[in-house]
Symmetry: C2
Subunit: 345 residues, 2 copies
């Protein structure tokens, strides 16, 4: 048996109805939905076929049908084919200053969750090749030194450390020149013993400061690649969908969203340029995160040049409005990348 035009229409009608109501949808509903073009009996026959083919299921005899994972998958693939002709009407973002990308991302997640009524997830950028761009030492107290480290991609980190033998202003200036001339443009792997010993030699009596700085640099780069930042927002939106909000499921899902380390699998997907846009749709069991087997997850990877990559995701019920979500994410990607490139230029 194969999908003819009518089956597709009916399947779509079922999915659309189920999206709205969240209730199993019966043959008469569909019959009315298509303006009685076909009678409920005809629909019933078709639905029987569709069920046999695995696109829809019956929660129990004498209930209507709901889409199966396979059904959603079909639907989503259809949308992907049709793509968008009309421009999506996502509200203009207030991405003005990217200087604090982190805070922009947080706001973005909040906005996204609010707009869609689903939960949003956003991973801070992974700086793939952490090249040092700039290091600055400053004295901020008699015995305290501020180390500012700027990485390629304008990721800034600071630390205040204690120094026993504080260099004076001029020495500090020299140290800065020394550090920058030796380290700039290097990745952490390229900072080897050779470089280190050379610097220490040049630093003379302040070799200990070199140690402090290197320790700090290592810390910065490690911290950033190890604990991947993931922000979530609108987690409690799941209470808007009865099929997700029974205690068992809600609890599990919310816990997963709270312990962001469990979400790694969602944002780990490298590249993912499968279908050009880097957008992926996980339906039910397809999701790499166990707690989301009753949800659908849509993720999109953004790339802001310089190997700075992250992921934005939407988590909602399987009956989420895929069309809207896909559109929103697509335009968001564009806006984000444009805004950043503009800034970068």
């Amino acid at each position: 048996m194969e999908m003819d035009e009518r089956k597709i229409t009916i399947l779509k009608a079922i999915i659309k109805n189920y999206m709205d109501t969240g209730e199993p949808v019966g043959s008469r509903t569909i019959s009315k939905y298509v303006d009685n073009k076909w009678s409920s009996a005809t629909i019933r026959n078709e639905m029987s076929d569709l069920e046999e083919m695995g696109y829809i299921v019956q929660p129990h005899t004498s209930a209507g049908r709901i889409p199966s994972d396979k059904g959603y998958r079909f639907y989503v693939d259809q949308i992907e084919l049709e793509k968008d002709n009309e421009a999506a009407e996502v509200q203009e973002l207030m991405i003005q200053r990217i200087d604090r990308l982190e805070s922009v991302l947080k706001k973005l997640a909040k906005l996204l969750a609010h707009d869609t009524n689903y939960a949003a997830l956003i991973s801070g950028p992974r700086y793939q090749e952490n090249k040092l761009k700039f290091i600055q030492l400053s004295r901020v107290d008699t015995d305290k030194m501020l180390i500012v480290t700027v990485l390629e991609g304008n990721l800034i980190k600071n630390a205040i450390v204690q120094v026993v033998n504080m260099p004076d202003e001029e020495e500090l200036l020299n140290m800065n020149i020394l550090l920058n001339s030796n380290l700039n443009g290097l990745t952490i792997e390229e900072i080897n013993l050779d470089v280190i010993s050379r610097m220490k030699q040049q630093a003379g009596s302040h070799a200990d400061v070199v140690d402090l700085v290197l320790e700090q640099v290592a810390e910065v780069i490690r911290a950033d690649s190890e604990d991947l930042q993931i922000y979530t927002s609108g987690a409690t939106n799941i209470f808007k969908y009865p099929e997700l909000s029974d205690n068992q499921k809600a609890s599990e899902l919310l816990q997963t969203l709270e312990h962001t380390e469990l979400l790694k699998d969602l944002v780990d997907t490298d590249g993912g340029s499968e279908n050009g846009t880097g957008i992926q749709v996980y339906i039910g069991e397809e999701s790499p995160v166990r707690a989301m087997r009753d949800c659908s997850v849509v993720t999109a990877n953004y790339e802001l040049g310089e190997g700075i990559r992250g992921t934005i995701g939407i988590i909602g019920p399987k009956r989420m409005d895929y069309e809207k979500v896909l559109k929103t994410l697509r335009t968001l990607m564009t806006q984000l990348e444009t805004a950043f490139k503009k800034e970068e230029r």
Copy 2:
């Protein structure tokens, strides 16, 4: 009627039992609890009295009793009187480097939530008098400048801004000296037109840079005093307590915990040195946050010198283990303040 020794014992027994089970507790249970020192009938009479006095309530006839807000209040006040003789066994904290207070606070909240099985809340420090301590300009690109601002209390903020007319190295050095000599030690209120025009005059051809810096400084200080940082952790712990986890309540509570602006009232309590330690216990309706009328909230204010203040809080069911929570918070305060003072010294 007044509280005699026996009534107190029974009230405590009721509360203790209810804490464990979360079920209404009956007279026989209590009778067994006190090794049949009194019969269930006697207990019943006393319970009847306690109910009349408002310390306990019956959810319905023929159910046991549960403590009322007033009952909990009595219990908590008792604990406060007894205080702790034994040292609390909170696990030693890994507060090593305070240079990134924010991340320490987040970890602390997580730890606290995990240890207590309640939800934890922690507000980032409010820097009361934002004095500028240090400003540093650096060139990081042909047309981009890094502005690092350090406030009293070692709060560090950075920004990268575009500059049309980039000063050369020497001019930059002069600008740094200029800015620091003019601005250091000033609060934002003290930066008036007089100071600004003087600086601009001294800056000569780079007066525009002064504007950029001032804008940035204003931004930094404003951002920090306006959007008070509040982190929560372990919000989903509330699912461990049946009386909080019916959908209605859980949803409301979790939403409140997610929208941290709603928690302002909990951390706003200035000073709060009422009982020496700055610890406050809100039971049920006492709470300033509406969504928490079925919970108890314990907050403690920390102060890390220099007017740097924040709040740590625990949110749990009314039947929370007040003794443990109070102890934990007390030792935590001590540890935090000690650790910070040590670092500061």
